[in-house]
Amino acid sequence: MHSLSVAEMASALTEGQCTSEELAQVFLDRIARFDTQLNSLITVDPERALAQARAADARRRQGGCGPLTGIPIIHKDIFLTQDQRTTCGSRMLERFVPHFDATIVARCAAAGLVTLGKSNMDEFAMGSSNETSYFGPVRNPWDTARVPGGSSGGSAAAVAARLAPLATGSDTGGSIRQPAALCGITGLKPTYGRVSRWGMIAFASSLDQAGVFGRDARDCALLLELMAGFDPRDSTSVDRPVPAYSASLEQSLAGLRVGVPAEFFGAGLEPAVGAAVETALAALKDLGATVHPVHLPNLGLSVPTYYTLAPAEASSNLSRFDGVRYGHRCEQPANLEDLYKRSRAEGFGTEVKRRIMIGTYVLSAGYYDAYYLKAQRCRRLITEDFRRAFETVDVLVGPTAPEVAFRLGEKTDDPVKMYLSDINTIAVNLAGLPGLSLPAGFVDGLPVGMQLIGPHFSEGRLLNVAHQFQRETDWHRQLPPAFA
């Protein structure tokens, strides 16, 4: 049951081969059995999940259900869930219980999805390996000595190990695509503004975007089409109809113009990863696509640009965590300043504090122009590169990450090394474009991810390309042996 796609599970439910409650129980049992090895979940609430599943079954009997009614899902712990602890991977929010749902959580609930629990993540989504979580690192199901990627590492590992068929994630600089790649599943970061940010704890507001994880493109399409859409509670949400993504998956790729940016195949790329992506490109050609070399000359600027702008916004976004209204407060504060300083020092982990400090610095008097404003200009240069590329091609393709999953602890001592591993994903956030990662092979038993990037609001096209590729390949059907 657990190895089925969501579409297959949905038809099993429709045909009465199983109930939502049984389906939820299958996954809850797998969580109980396997998650001690992965630590992919921060909160699991079987009672709540089973109650939701029974409600979904009742709804099905009454005939009022949608395509995903009764399908289990895991929400990244960055999304607020009403009356259910929401930690954002931080000690700061260890006991924080919101009184309302994030828009996407509410939309999933309204569609009848069953929330199994909340997934582990890098603290406040700051990390690329899921090692900054206050609740301990997440492990990669393909090799538990390795990282699952981050920051949505818990969601990716859980879906890869089939602890849930679907999961939500957020992506500020690659936090959906990179863990999807490292865990061998499909993950989509939509266009900025496509999915509501209401109830998603902000890291960097102009870069954050909620997205989806699934086994394959069809599963992602089904989830995205109910999650996406205008939300009056988010000023940056775009009021534009949501296409039926699952209905355009079967379009032919004949005539598709695929651009391959040379910069994605530069010095930092592990050769075997590059080779796997080349093979995948050949498969796309076989499907009728044409492949064209393109250039993103300013891509190299994206790492320093991103690591200026994201911490700047984060330093301000995280000021609200002050120990006054909610969250961690230190013991016996001597005065107000002591309350602030110790509550924040104790509540935040090291990487979060580093980014708050860098962000504070680049916004401070005397440095604002040289760093923050300069980075905003670089952001436009990078965005213009994409705009020019999309004048001649429909999608861009390259490796999602320059290497396969690395070992736990391998990069924790050197944050700069960690930052550089985001080179292929962060430019997409700077430009607000949709990006999708899908499995494209293995290197030494570890998954390789291929990234598809399209113009704004081309999610349907990216899912279509991914689906066509997945019809011809079976990388996405592979299960990590230890979790079969």
Partner: protein, 95 residues
């Protein structure tokens, strides 16, 4: 090294983060390496390029002036580290 301990101490204060002396040294080293990375943007020629604050070129939407939010005091005070008489409590503030 691009940061001095004094600069980092100042930033930590501005950001209201308690950092003890040994930590301060470690932060100074790591943050200096980050700042070296950030400084790479200085090489870019951005003459005539306007700043980009948002990925989408859209205007602010306006909300009708109506009361839509109910009183949620009890739920919110329940999350507070210290509250009494409907108020959030903090150490005495001196103006």
């Amino acid at each position: 090294m691009s940061f001095t301990i004094e600069t980092v101490r100042g930033i930590a204060h501005l950001a209201r983060l308690a950092v003890d002396e040994p930590e301060l040294e470690a932060y100074t080293q790591v943050l200096s390496r980050s700042l070296d990375l950030l400084a790479q943007i200085n090489a870019a020629d951005t003459t005539g390029i306007t700043e980009m604050a948002h990925p989408l070129d859209v205007a602010q939407r306006l909300r009708p002036d109506a009361v839509t939010e109910p009183d949620v005091r009890e739920a919110c005070l329940a999350q507070a580290p210290a509250a009494d008489a409907g108020l959030f409590l903090v150490p005495k503030v001196i103006e």
